[in-house]
Subunit: 352 residues, 2 copies
DNA sequence: ATAATTTTGACCAGCGCTGTCATCGTTGCT
DNA sequence: AGCAACGATGACAGCGCTGGTCAAAATTAT
């Protein structure tokens, strides 16, 4: 029933220590010894005891996922991706939802790491963008992988997974432009999330490329929340010249804008096109369903975990770990956006 | 930084063994010694090392949460509640999302328990209602707590937390009745979830109590999904005699019904009142916001965990564990329901 | 007061594994 | 061949805690 390292050692005719070496991927094990041990491991279906490993070594076999995000769908997707990778590599996942704005957050993270003896951490925004968190983690010599917004890998950094919000936002904006819209507003997310800044930059770039100027009144600061979308749309609709399209920084904001428009009896998409970002399930559940950008969260998460494991592996050569993977969310056109003045979208069946 | 049992012992002026006794809830520790040790534990923020405990004892200090539920908000809330209790008791939480309908599910659960050496499990629907899962767990002598729908504790059962869906549904239906509605439809959730049956029963009971007959055409089978709500509403609105109010088995279904009504240009709540169930965040983000029943998921979860710990605790006396806690979700009136024909709700300002 | 009882502590072994360091066997070199 | 140098392997202690045993101390009953 329960196979210990001892059994394997006997079976392979080596010492316990050698088996341990094999398990830990240590160098300095001769090829034939290695094979011998591996054979024994497979034959006996040996599964190392995580508790014993944790206790004996400074290292551990669990990773942590710290998050503070009101978006349940995002979190669930992330967890799913992380769990997949963890299972594959025999790690455990410890989830730790908390409040990023709490004053003692750094200590809290530190405590979590020491108490649970985490091998590493996965950080998503806002934690992935808090310098003092990263510093603390580096001080503690704990590996971590950050999932952040960005399009160009920075040299030397090997613990990041990038999401190219800029390009994705550029695409969404282009979609709106192709529909004939020129008065397009942008509803920002939280300023401290760089994703918001990146998306705004992509938005501006797309307009500029078309030779359009960016109307500062159409750029509304806000937060990643439904409420913020409600407020933002209200402000926009109070302007003397209303925009004909709104690009919201995420689906929640977009849903809020939709809600707000409805309260003001503005028909969507006829009078106002609205686009979101993220493709969260409820972007499909608004009326009309939201045009958005699909972000493959589970895949991103499992890639992040894979990257982390490359670091935490005992004899990891950090310099060898390749540059950051980059994900570009894809445009997903649904019914919340339509051509301006009822024209047909230019890329759709333009009959001659 | 790292507090061991030794530190606590010194701080409290007792031996290591006594601290261990306290930690393990062993009898034969005098009240004042117990308090003294507890004080030291709290003061030093002592958190036992799970790995060491796991290793030293046959028992383990992690519990598992198995789920298969598309509702992300529900899962996040549950996790939150479970984590709170786990933290308090020095347990770890292992989350395990999976597919309840997969053929090898029982083996999968068994493997999870043995491989991760789980002390216990928390089960929510649909797992909490699968007899073969419960049997397998009992065979393995693993403790588990089920969160199920029900209003009356069954004698002898001490590992259940009940949610009184019947009473809550009764209340919601009553609210609709008080608004003057008599033609009320019911959109069911999954048949295999007893919550759906309980809610339906509560619905029927409320109608019957008012002397109304239940129109079978107004009871639409379905699933706990947005799509199901869309379909259900479509069917209802195709009836020769449309209902004036719809009670959906959960918020997702209600949101779907709302969506569907919108597609058919039916004004909510003027032409049709819609009520949901659960008070999930997006019940606030539909337009109009949904009248629903608030289910305190986090609280329920942490109670379930507390109950589980009472079982897994070394010297637990199962017979002594009190009967199942019962939660009754509370009515939350929002804008998706309104009086029939513009009358004022009867319990509101009925001016003489 | 003394006996009976309960509570506590000292001590040891051991859970399954890893870290350290000493030892052994090889290889390379003069 | 002989010696150094290195690579591969094993012996041993110990991670932090529990479980057991037994004896000492504190409490209660008589």
């Amino acid at each position: 029933m329960k196979v210990t390292i001892n059994d394997v050692a006997k079976h392979a005719g080596v010492s316990i220590k050698t088996v341990s070496r094999v398990m830990n991927n240590e160098p300095s094990v001769r090829k034939d010894t290695f094979d011998k041990v591996m054979a024994a491991i497979n034959e006996l279906h040996y599964q190392p005891n995580a508790a014993a490993r944790n206790l004996a070594s400074t290292r551990s076999y669990s990773i942590g996922y710290i998050y503070d995000n009101p978006n349940a769908y995002y979190i669930i997707d992330m967890q799913k991706g992380l769990l997949d990778s963890c299972k594959k590599h025999g790690y455990e996942l410890l989830i730790h939802p908390t409040n990023a704005k709490s004053p003692g957050i750094v200590d809290e993270v530190k405590e979590l790491v020491t108490k649970s003896r985490l091998a590493g951490l996965i950080l998503t925004p806002p934690f992935s963008e808090m310098p003092h968190i990263a510093e603390a983690l580096e001080d503690m010599k704990v590996d971590f992988v950050r999932i952040v917004s960005g399009s160009t890998p920075s040299p030397g950094v090997h613990n990041c997974v990038l999401i190219d919000d800029f390009t994705a936002a550029f695409k969404i904006t282009n979609h709106l432009l192709e529909l004939g819209h020129t008065d397009i507003a942008f509803l920002c997310g939280d300023e401290e999330h760089s994703s918001s800044g990146e998306r705004l930059a992509g938005f501006k770039a797309a307009l500029t490329k078309r030779g359009l100027t960016v109307n500062p009144k159409y750029i509304v600061p806000g937060h990643y929340s439904f409420e913020s979308g409600v407020e933002g749309a209200k402000k926009l609709m109070a302007l003397p010249k209303r925009p004909s399209a709104v690009f919201a920084c995420n689906d929640e904001i977009a849903a809020g804008a939709l809600f707000s428009a409805r309260l003001m009896n503005i028909r969507i998409p006829d009078e106002l096109s609205i686009a979101g970002f993220e493709n969260s399930p409820f972007s499909r559940q608004t009326w009309p369903p939201l045009t958005t950008a699909h972000q493959p969260n589970s895949t991103i998460a499992s890639q992040a975990a894979e990257l982390l494991f490359k670091h935490t592996r005992p004899n990891a050569n950090k310099a060898q770990i390749q540059a950051q993977p980059v994900f570009i969310p894809e445009l997903l056109v649904r019914e919340s956006t339509s051509p301006l003045d009822g024209e047909k979208s230019s890329n759709q069946s333009a009959k001659p």
